[in-house]
Amino acid sequence: MARLHCVGVGIELAAHITPAAQKAIADSDVVFYAASDSIFEAWMAELHPNAHSLQKFYQDGKSRKTSYQEMASEIVQALEQNQSVAAVFYGHPGVFVQPASFAMKAAEKQGHQVIMLPGISAEDCLYADLNIDPGRFGCQMYEASQFLYYQRTIDTSAYLILWQIALVGDQSHTRFEEDKNNVQLFIEYMNQFYSLDHTVIVYEARASYFDDLRKVEIPLGQLTNVALSEKSTLVIPPSTKMKRNPFFTKQEKNLKKLKLIHSR
């Protein structure tokens, strides 16, 4: 039985890696890694003498579904020849990282030991950088295309966070750049729930010393005027106040009545 560590190293190069992640990487026989940009990738390559990039599985025109299956396959195959394998991902390996999920399930089925080590995710950075507390008004979050394709109950009194807004409407899973027509379609859809002048935020976390945090506040109706990258996240702040739940209000009254009866 071999051991697979799925390790998160956080969003910002070197700044977010935990001691547990460092140890798991150092103790592994072989390391596979997926980074968010070239500098991050170069840093990850230096984390272990036997480190291999998974980036080669991404190819123009190739479905990301296929790429992720191939990445997982590479990781799981390494468990046959090594005692300890680490699959290292930027961010958190359990948050929106399908190759890690595929590899862990397959490795577990083969009887290998599987351990996930959390990392600071883009979501964590977003709360810090935008000073948003998801516990205050609540928070819904979806991948932007999935959000568009499926019926969701939008709560306009809570924050709505949409990941990969640049790729909204991409059913091919092959694009890496925004399609303004799809973004326009998204605006029209969202206009059913939010006014076009409702301020939304386009956010990108800082990945390394070379980057600045990106925070663009813009009315929803002008979203097509902002350049969106695959790293862009859209944050829609609440547009309405929270409403009392009539079911609970009724129950509360009943409970108060009961208390009165029992206190007599």
């Binding site: 980074a35 299956q69 195959q77 046959e80 590899a103 991948e143 295309s145 390394s208 010393y209 070379f210």
Partner: protein, 83 residues
């Protein structure tokens, strides 16, 4: 490469570069690093700028249990090790 990455790490953490750090990379590269010129540093270090970081959401054919074997995908045999 290793020395350049070490400097990027230190600069990212807001640390001051020692004389030893500064001497560990060529002067022109050091200048690019200090100026935060990512494109030039990538070119100097011969790094590929086309790195992708995208996620793939589930579709309506997938449940938690089926996640690793969506309909259009190779079956699980293909993502396990070849014995």
């Amino acid at each position: 490469m290793k020395a350049a990455i070490k400097i990027i790490e230190k600069l990212g953490l807001g640390e001051t570069l020692s004389e030893q750090d500064q001497a560990s990379v060529p002067a022109d590269l050091l200048e690019m690093l200090k100026e935060r010129n990512k494109r030039l540093v990538e070119k100097y270090l011969d790094l590929t700028p086309d790195i992708h970081c995208v996620l793939l959401p589930a579709d309506d054919d997938e449940g938690e249990e089926q996640e690793e074997t969506p309909n259009e995908q190779p079956n699980e045999e293909k993502i396990t090790a070849q014995k």
